[in-house]
Each structure stands twice: as C-alpha cells, then as structure tokens.
C-alpha cells in the first residue's frame, strides 16, 4: 500500500512538473537575463544605418558588423567604441530616436571615417580586452573609445558569446602580450560556462547526437524551445526575491569588490598597452552619471576609482575625459522595479535620446581635438 501511494505521488509529481511549465509558458514574456537591468521603460537599440550594421554586441553578430565594414568601409580608418548597455539603451524611447552610436557614425562618415560600436550589458574591462583583441585582428582600428564604468568594475568573468574569439590564434597571440590576457585565454577553456549548453560535451562523440536530439525536441515541444526564456524568468524571480528580502534597489550603495576591481584595472592597463603597441589612439572617459540625486556609490571609492583611471590613462600617454556631468537631470528617467511588487526606480545608467545626443557631441568634439593634435 505504501509503495503504491509513493508511486502515485511520484507520478503526480512528474505530471505536475510538466503542467507547471505550461502554466509559466502562458505568461509569454520572454526575458533575456542580461538585459534585465534595462526594464520596460528602456529599449536596447543596435542600429543599422543604410543597411550597414554599425552597432554589434559580441561574437553573436560581430560578423555582420565586420562584413558591413568590408563592404562599405572602403578601408576607412575605424574608430571603435566599446561599451556597456548605456551605449545601446534609450530611456523612454520615442519613434526615430537615435543612439549616440548612430549619430557618431553619421558624423564621421562626413570625414570619411568609419565609426563602429560594440556594447554588451554589464560588460567588464576583461571582456572589452578580449573584444578589442578580436577587433584589431579583423579591422584596421585607428582609434579606440573606451568608457569606464564604476558598476562594471564589480563584474567578472567572460561571457560565452565572446568565447569563439578565443579559438582564433591571432586573438590569443594579441592577448598573450599581457599577463592577464595570457591568463584569460589559458583559463577560459577550463572554466564552467552555463551559457554554453553543450560545453560538457566538447570533443566527444555525444555532442552531435545531443544537438540533433535537442533540435528535434525543440521543434516538437514548445516547452523545450522556451527553456532559455524560462531560465531567464527563473533567474529574474531569484534576483527580484533577493532584492525584496534585502531591500536592494538601484539607489543602494555599491562598493568595490576588491578581487574583481584588481582584475579589471589590470585589463584596462593591458588594453592601453596593446593599443600603444599597435599605434592606436585611445580616448578613455568616465561615463555620464545621474547627478540630481545621491549616487549609489561609496563616495571615496568612486573618487579613487576616477583618479586611478585618469592616472593610468595619462601615464600611458592617452586622452582622458570625465563626462560624468554632461547629461542634465531632465534627460534621465526611471526603470521598472527590480523587486517584487515595487514601484518605478531611478535609472542611474540609461538616459534618453537627448542624453545620447549630448554624449555623441562630447565624444565627437574630443575625437576631433585628438585628431587635430596629431
């Protein structure tokens, strides 16, 4: 009797699990976990100008940007802008709004120069380092525009969407010139990457079979096909639960995470060394920040961070600008709640299209100034 009821419970549990997924699937709100910080009031924009893809994220679409340059760039010198979601997100977007990336591309075309942008949500400087090494092996980069973000100094790890670039020996060779670059390329293969579904099957006979089975299942069972979205929803739920329990919101003070900070500073330094070796000009800037409310940073740490970035940049002979106050309070907005049942919250990172206009103007002026110095 006990055995029988145990088995019935097991069967009901299995059926219940599948039913649960169908219930969640009816909530058709796919979530990309990495874009969670944007919320509903902000929109990611990766622009295509006149059929040219001039703004990419990472290896998932890098080929399109490189192909567009090869077709339309006519061997023009390239200014490469690497950034985080501030670069591709427009707060409270309206029709025909443009990002700074688009505006800069158009303006530099008038000077017969090619302005190309890559941005990834929460990108840390180690990721920028790998992307930079990838780009200089594929495109004649003459100028690098590198924003430095205090929040992103708290990030670590290399996302899988950048990993394919590490299979290119020239990229590995470029990175190998720096101590951290060498470590990043060596360590990468030995680390766990939840983003790569089949990483555990690399170099095995099973990999192909698993891929085929997963494709068949995706085609025949909608729940299976929706799994990435479910994972996003689940992680979003955990993230919001944590924020709710501990009262965390975008205004909560963020401190430096020493281990990550050290690695990102080292990456920053090695990016500049690599650029110097390749004869590439660099503009480093501190990103615009909302200044009408208390900043969510530990004040002393933030000041020390800016000072350290400026010192390293100038020591290596490159240009530094502090753009933290160029976007006035009116051009900032709010974001969806990052906690369960919460209200709109202040957005410290993403501004409106007017903010993009001002940022584009500042970068444009600075790059012209740098050009005239040469």
């Amino acid at each position: 009797m006990t055995l029988k009821t145990n088995n019935i419970r097991t069967a009901l549990g299995f059926l219940g699990g599948v039913a649960l997924l169908y219930v969640f699937m009816s909530n058709d709100n796919p979530v990309q976990f990495e874009e969670l910080a944007l919320g509903e009031t902000t929109e990611p924009v990766y622009t295509i100008v006149d059929v040219k893809k001039i703004h990419c994220s990472d290896m998932r679409n890098s080929r399109e940007c490189i192909a567009a340059y090869e077709e339309f760039g006519r061997e023009q010198p390239v200014s490469l802008w690497l950034g985080n979601s501030q670069v591709h997100a427009i707060n409270q977007p309206k029709p025909n709004d443009e990002t700074a990336a688009t505006k800069l591309h158009r303006r530099f075309q008038l000077h017969d120069k090619y302005f190309l942008t890559y941005s990834q949500p929460n990108a840390n400087l180690q990721e920028h380092y790998i992307l930079f090494a990838h780009m200089i092996t594929n495109i004649p980069v003459k100028t690098l525009v590198l924003p430095v973000v205090f929040d992103d100094m708290r990030e670590d790890g290399i996302r899988t969407s950048l990993s394919s670039s590490l299979s290119d020996p020239i990229v590995v060779q470029q990175l190998g010139q720096g101590e951290l670059g060498l470590k990043l390329s060596e360590n990468y293969l030995s680390q766990s990457r939840p983003e790569n579904d089949l990483a555990g099957l690399n170099d095995t006979e099973q990999e192909r079979v698993e891929r085929v089975l997963s494709e068949i299942l995706s085609e025949s069972w909608s729940v299976w096909a929706s799994r990435p979205s479910f994972r996003g929803q689940f992680l979003n739920f955990l993230y919001m639960s944590r924020n709710w329990i501990f009262g965390i919101n975008p205004s909560t003070t963020r401190k430096i995470i020493p281990g990550r900070y050290v690695l990102n500073i080292q990456a920053f330094s090695e990016i500049l060394d690599l650029a110097a070796n390749k004869g590439i000009e660099v503009l480093v800037y501190i990103v615009p920040l909302r200044n009408d409310v208390k900043r969510p940073y530990h004040a002393d740490q933030y000041e020390a961070f800016k000072s350290e970035i400026e010192t390293i940049t100038l020591q290596k002979g490159f240009d530094f600008s502090n753009f933290e106050n160029i976007v006035p309070p009116d051009f900032w907005g709010f974001k969806s709640s990052t906690t369960i049942g919460g209200d709109l919250e202040l957005d410290f990172m993403h501004f409106t299209a007017d903010g993009h206009r001002l940022l584009a103007e500042s970068i444009y002026r600075k790059l012209l100034e740098m050009g005239s110095k040469q």
């Binding site: 145990n6 299995f14 699990g17 997924l21 939840p194 990483a199 555990g200 689940f234 944590r242 281990g259």
Partner: protein, 481 residues
C-alpha cells in the same frame, strides 16, 4: 556519455523496456552493448583499453583458481601490474616525467619540459579499481572466479557505474544479474525518483554554483579576504558534494530501473560528527575499497569483502601511522596526478590522527552535545580540506590557508555579495533538509496528508526545474579522476 543529457535519457528509454522483455542471456548482451555504447559516446578509441582490462582480469582470475600458491601470486601481480600499468601510463606518466625533469633541473641538468598530452580514458580509475578488487578477492579466496565472460564483463562495464562508481564488488552485482528479477513497476518509480534527485542536484544546483567557484578561485590571492577563503572552501565543498552525489543518485536510479540495487555512496557527509564519521558518509564505496585493499593490508589487519562501511574500521584502529599516511597520500594521488591531491590526502590523514588524540578528551561529555558539537567542529575542517582539491597549485593552497590564520584579513570582503549569500543559503539548506527529513518525514504520521502534498509539490518543482536547466554544460567533477 554524460548522465545530464538528452542522449542518456534516450538510452534509458530504449534499454529499460527492452531489458524487461528479454530473456536472461539477451539481457546480459543488452547491458554489455548498452554499456559499450555509453562509453563509446565519449571516445570510441578508448573502448579497447576498457575491454583489455576486463579480459585480463577475467582470464587471470580463472587461471588463478586452479593454480599453485606460487603461481597464484604471480598471476595476481600480472593483474595488478596490468591495471596499475594502464593507470600509470594514462594518468601518472606525464606527472612522473614533469617531476623528474624538474628534479633533474634542480641539479643543473637543463632539460626542457616534455610537451605531450595524454588523454585520460574516462572512468579508468574506477574500473581498474573494480577489476583489481575482483582478482584480489579471488586470490584471497573470498570469491570464486566468474566463468561466464559476458556476466563478468557486465559487472565491470555496467553503464550506471562505469565512469564514476560506486566501486562495487562482484558479490554485490553479479548475483543480482543472475537473479533474473521479474518486472515490477516499483523499480521504475523508485529509479525515476532517484534520477530526478540526481539531475536536480547536478543541473539546477551544482552547475549553477560552478561559475561562482571558478571565478572565486581565479581571483588574485592578495585581493581575497579570510572570509572569502572560508566562503570558497564551503562553496566548492557544496559544489563537489552536489555534483558527485548527483552522479551517485543517477547511477543508483539507473541501476534500479533495471532492478539492480546498489549500496548508497553518500549519507549527509557534512553532518559528520568527526573525520572518521565523514569518511563513513562520503564516497563510501571508495573509502571501503581503500580500507580493504590498501589500508588494512598495509596495517596488517584482516580485510572485509563488501563496499559498505566506509573507513570506519580503518580509522578506529590505532594501528600503523605510516599505513594511515601512505594510504591517504595514495588516495589523494588516485584523485589526480598533482601534488595538491597528495596534500589533500595527507591533510585528511592528519585530521584523523588529531581526532584519535583528541576524541578521548570528550569521553565524559553528554553524547548529544558531543554529536552536535562534533558536527560544528568537523564541518569547517572538512571544508578547508577542499582547498587543495580545487586549487591550481600548492602555492595557491598555502596562500589561501594562510589567509585563514591572518586576523587582519577578516575585516573586508573581496567577492560579489551573491557569493556569500548563496553559500549561506546552501549551508542553511543542508542543515534544514536533514532536519526536515528526520522530523517531518519520519516522526509525524499525523502530517501524512500535508507530507504527501509537499512531496508531490517538491517533485513537480524539481521536474520543472530539471527540464528547464537540463543541459550538458559540464561533466561531473569526478569524471576527471
């Protein structure tokens, strides 16, 4: 083949129904074919190595049975030599060469490092130990040799335990194959439940802890605080436990689908009240193997012939200290060809030695107090023991251990807040799951309806999360051993 994959579930879906409708010989043939297929899905070229090990030990054991005493010993040496030879070539040759080159260079030889990459055949440490135990048991006359090659081959290659154990004895498996059990739905439900638990622990828990551990251990030591070291020690301790116990759950569940019952390989090891108790609860089949085929012979104590009990007998003997340290150094080396693993083994030998000295001091204390106090004393030491197991080098190990004793390093945090939070939740979860299991599920019959609902809900949530997270993003940690 990896358990946490669709391919494995398809293999089970094909093998299990066929198994129950086939006749005895056909069942054995099916198991052998499925096992070779399972192994070949990793790398086909290493199947001959596996078959070689199977054939040698089967042949040696048969010859040994009717041979003279002197010849029996020679045959035993052939068997052990063949298996240890395979292990040495694939697992330790480069370690030996690298260390020899380094040693020679210390004395001014100026040799270049040898750059050869030898791929370690999956599961070789497990199946060689299993086959060694077989020939040794025949040599000791604990068992008779198996005359049926197919039956013996099924014992060694049986896919649920082929690549990461449990390391089973002939007497525990072959008789179950021979029994020719009739189909019973209970096997399917119980087996499915165990597989579900295993998949949940692997794909939902262990695989999501792994990136945090990887990131933590790749941090520069100087930016780690003492609390970071403790957190990383605990976090890796949880990762390896969930990962390996997940494997064991799936192995036990898969075997159960075919009506085969394996002994348990884990029993809440982090609730152990002493180092001795820990090794009665962690990777029990390996501990028992080490006890019977290494430690007790070295300590000249009579041996047992079963894979249960862990190291309880071994560690309670106040025998030869050299045997203890030698056993643990070898056990460490078994896990990997690196000095960090040797250090890990010696650390545990030291823990056991200290426990032997310290435990009599608590003789007058209340048993419950001793038991609970023992858990809180043992746990941190067991977790610190994982540092050499996960660290890249001895330098990293000692630097991390050094932080623990640096009082100034306790006043700041070097990692992202989530890392501490997740570690804390896992710690609380571990204690509360054991508590709930004991109190809620066994002592409260009045709550049976609530219990049933909770059980169904827990299974439903686990099923949903396993479906969502089932991806072979990483192999099981113990596959590398």
């Amino acid at each position: 083949m990896i358990f946490n994959s669709l391919t494995y579930l398809v293999l089970l879906a094909v093998v299990v129904p066929l198994y129950w409708i086939l006749s005895y010989r056909a069942r054995l043939l099916l198991i052998f074919t499925a096992s070779i297929t399972f192994y070949g899905f990793w790398r086909v070229e290493f199947i001959p190595v596996l078959i070689f090990s199977v054939v040698v030990d089967w042949w040696v054991a048969l010859r040994m049975y009717s041979a003279s005493e002197k010849k029996r010993f020679r045959l035993l040496l052939i068997s052990i030599g063949a298996n240890i030879g395979l292990l040495f070539y694939f697992k330790y040759l480069m370690f030996f060469v690298d260390n020899s080159v380094s040693l020679a260079n210390i004395f001014g030889a100026k040799l270049d490092p040898v750059l050869v990459n030898i791929i370690l055949p999956l599961g070789i440490s497990f199946y060689t130990f299993q086959t060694i135990s077989y020939t040794v048991d025949v040599y000791r006359r604990h068992i008779n040799p198996e005359t049926d090659f197919l039956l013996y081959a099924c014992y060694v290659t049986f896919f649920p335990q082929l690549v990461a154990g449990p390391i089973l004895r002939v007497s525990e498996v072959i008789k179950q194959f021979v029994e020719r059990k009739a189909f019973c739905l209970n096997h399917i439900f119980v087996g499915s439940r165990r597989i579900l638990y295993g998949l949940f622990l692997k794909v939902v828990v262990a695989d999501n802890i792994a990136p945090l551990v990887d990131q933590g251990y790749s941090m520069p030591i100087e930016s780690m605080s003492a609390l970071d070291v403790w957190t990383l020690a605990f976090l890796f301790g949880f990762q390896i436990y969930f990962d390996f116990s997940a494997y064991s759950h799936i192995a036990l569940g898969s075997a159960r689908l075919l009506g085969i019952v394996f002994p348990e390989n884990f029993n809440f090891p982090y609730l152990a009240s002493s180092p001795r108790d820990f090794w009665r609860r962690w990777h029990i089949s390996l501990s028992s193997w080490i006890r019977d085929y290494l430690y007790l012979p070295l300590a000249r104590v009579k041996v047992l012939d079963r894979s249960v009990g862990g190291l309880s007998i071994a560690t309670s003997k106040k025998g030869d200290g050299r045997a203890l340290y030698a056993t643990w150094a070898i056990m460490g080396l078994w896990h990997g060809a690196n000095w960090t693993f040797v250090l890990w083994g010696i650390y545990h030998a030291l823990m056991i030695s200290v426990y032997r000295v310290v435990s009599p001091l608590g003789n007058g204390l209340n048993e419950k107090f001793k038991s609970v106090g023992g858990v809180f004393l043992t746990l941190p030491f067991m977790m610190l023991g994982w540092i050499p197991f996960r660290a890249e080098s001895l330098n990293q190990t000692f630097a991390m251990w050094g932080k623990v004793f640096d009082l100034n390093a306790y006043f700041w945090l070097g990692m992202r807040e989530n890392t501490y939070l997740i570690t804390f939740i896992l710690l609380i979860g571990m204690f509360s799951s054991s508590f709930l299991r004991k109190v809620f599920f066994t002592n409260s019959p009045l709550l049976s309806r609530g219990k049933q609902l909770l059980d169904i809900t827990a299974i439903a949530v686990m099923v949903a999360l396993v479906i969502v997270f089932l991806r072979p993003i990483s192999q099981f940690i113990y596959f590398q051993f």
